[in-house]
């Protein structure tokens, strides 16, 4: 279990995620992501606006079937604690105090889910809802450190999985991605020609903090993991010209 130190690998993974054409592609990517992070499992599960459920991930099929068979959806504190919310959740903070929840946890551990988990809930449009989860067997301290160190990237990856899943919604008319405003284009252009943040902020007569927010917003719209990646994408797509 560790840090995905080679950031460009994560960028590459995100590029491939963007060109994914179906659930099978997501499955391949989620397995790779699991191996890159060195955690026991990663699962991405979503309920679309019509109430249909989909998922991909690395749990054993036996556990997935058992989960459905036993109706664990109604007991699982992760579902109870994440549904309709938008903050990431360390499983240890959830309420496992009921007898049913404890029995469920014991069963999950027996099936190799691990004793640690971290779930990122996402609320999409029209009632769409998703959970991006990592689980692992290890110490509390190790898990706190891992999730703390990787939280930002995990949140971004979770949201990119979700944007992809939204494209798979049946009958969905592809909506144009939120385009960059002139101000964001100016900010990205200045970074592309080598200005540092202070110089770019000065040129645009805005504070550095405001600039960081514009860049962050542009990064999100460009589907990038970081600023360098975002600048590269803006250039390759012709969003900015230098």
């Amino acid at each position: 279990m560790g840090f995905l130190r080679n950031a460009s690998r994560l960028d590459g993974l995100i590029e491939r995620l963007e060109s994914a054409e179906g659930l099978e592609d997501l499955q391949v990517l989620i397995e790779e992501l699991r191996d890159e992070y060195g955690v026991d499992h990663i699962v991405y599960h979503w309920v679309n606006s019509a109430g249909e459920q989909y998922g991909c991930g690395t749990y054993d099929l036996e556990w997935v079937n058992r989960y459905v068979e036993k109706g664990y959806l109604r007991i699982d504190p992760v579902i109870q604690g994440c549904y309709q919310r938008f903050h990431p959740v360390n499983w240890k903070r959830l309420d496992w105090s009921s007898k049913a929840a404890r029995a469920f946890l014991e069963d999950a551990i027996t099936h190799g889910i691990g004793n640690q988990g971290y779930s990122i809930p996402i609320r999409g449009p029209n009632g769409q809802f998703a959970l991006f989860t990592m689980s692992h067997n290890g110490s509390d301290e190790g898990w706190e450190r891992f999730t703390g160190d990787n939280r930002r990237d995990l949140i971004l990856v979770a949201h990119y999985f979700n944007s992809k899943a939204l494209e798979f919604e049946p009958g969905r008319t592809p909506e144009a991605a939120q385009s960059l405003s002139p101000r964001e284009i100016e900010a990205m252009t200045l970074l592309a020609i080598g200005y540092n943040r202070a110089q770019a902020a000065d040129t645009l007569s805005i504070s550095e903090h405001t600039l960081r927010v514009y860049i962050e917003s542009a990064r999100h719209k460009l589907g990038a993991m970081n600023t360098t990646h975002a600048v590269a994408r803006a250039l390759s797509r012709g969003v900015i010209v230098v």
Partner: protein, 212 residues
């Protein structure tokens, strides 16, 4: 004490929720004269309250509302993007790492530490949930209050004059500002963590749970 409550859990705190929406009417309609909707019960509620936001609320000893603010992720619908884009240089601010903070409200006669306690709680949320920035909408009076408690935002844009002034601003986390806000609030970091855990759960060891 501070409570963190999602919209769909407000019914579990009826007195707190009722007095919050009444105090919001008092602040935004009666005192500031904003063009807000107050319903037959006297509650000030808008369309974003229907988006299941996360409320951060100061609860007085008698269970009533002392102050509050409302948080929403900017990847969903937000007030700034829907109504104030002319104050953000036309930038549609959107990222899972940026949340919106609106309806910062203080009850009439709120104790001096309440505003700082709310800002301190906002810092806890940033640290625990990986939020890098807040974008917020606030009124003229708040500019002074934020300054006093040591957590002034960067102002992106503003409109209106005097009491009717409305601004859009940005906050980011700094350990230094957080420490200053904690001192102004008169709340120890341990107390703040305890309140956070009370709403979001303690870290509990599962071995103990299974044995229980």
């Amino acid at each position: 004490m501070i409570r963190y409550i999602y919209g769909n859990d407000l019914h579990k705190f009826p007195k707190l929720a009722r007095t919050m929406f009444l105090d919001r009417a008092d602040q935004f309609k009666t005192r500031l004269g904003w063009d807000v909707t107050v319903d037959a019960r006297g509650f000030e509620r808008d369309e974003y309250d229907a988006e299941n936001p996360l409320y951060v609320i100061w609860e007085n000893k008698d269970g009533t509302h002392g102050g509050s603010m409302r948080l929403l992720p900017t990847v969903g619908r937000t007030m700034v993007n829907d109504h104030f884009i002319h104050l953000t240089d036309g930038v549609h601010i959107e990222s899972p790492l940026i949340w919106e903070c609106t309806r910062f409200c203080l009850a009439r006669g709120a104790a001096p530490g309440v505003a700082a306690a709310l800002m301190l709680a906002g810092g806890e949320v940033m640290q625990e949930f990986g939020v890098m920035h807040y974008v917020g909408v606030f009124d003229a009076r708040m500019v002074r209050i934020y300054k006093r408690i040591g957590s002034s935002p960067d102002i992106l844009g503003q409109e209106g004059e005097g009491r009717a002034m409305i601004a859009v601003g940005l906050w980011e986390f700094s350990a230094e500002a957080q420490a200053k806000v904690a001192r102004t609030a008169g709340i120890t970091p341990e107390m703040s963590k305890r309140w956070f855990a009370r709403s979001f759960g303690e870290i509990v060891d599962e071995a103990g749970l299974i044995a229980a």
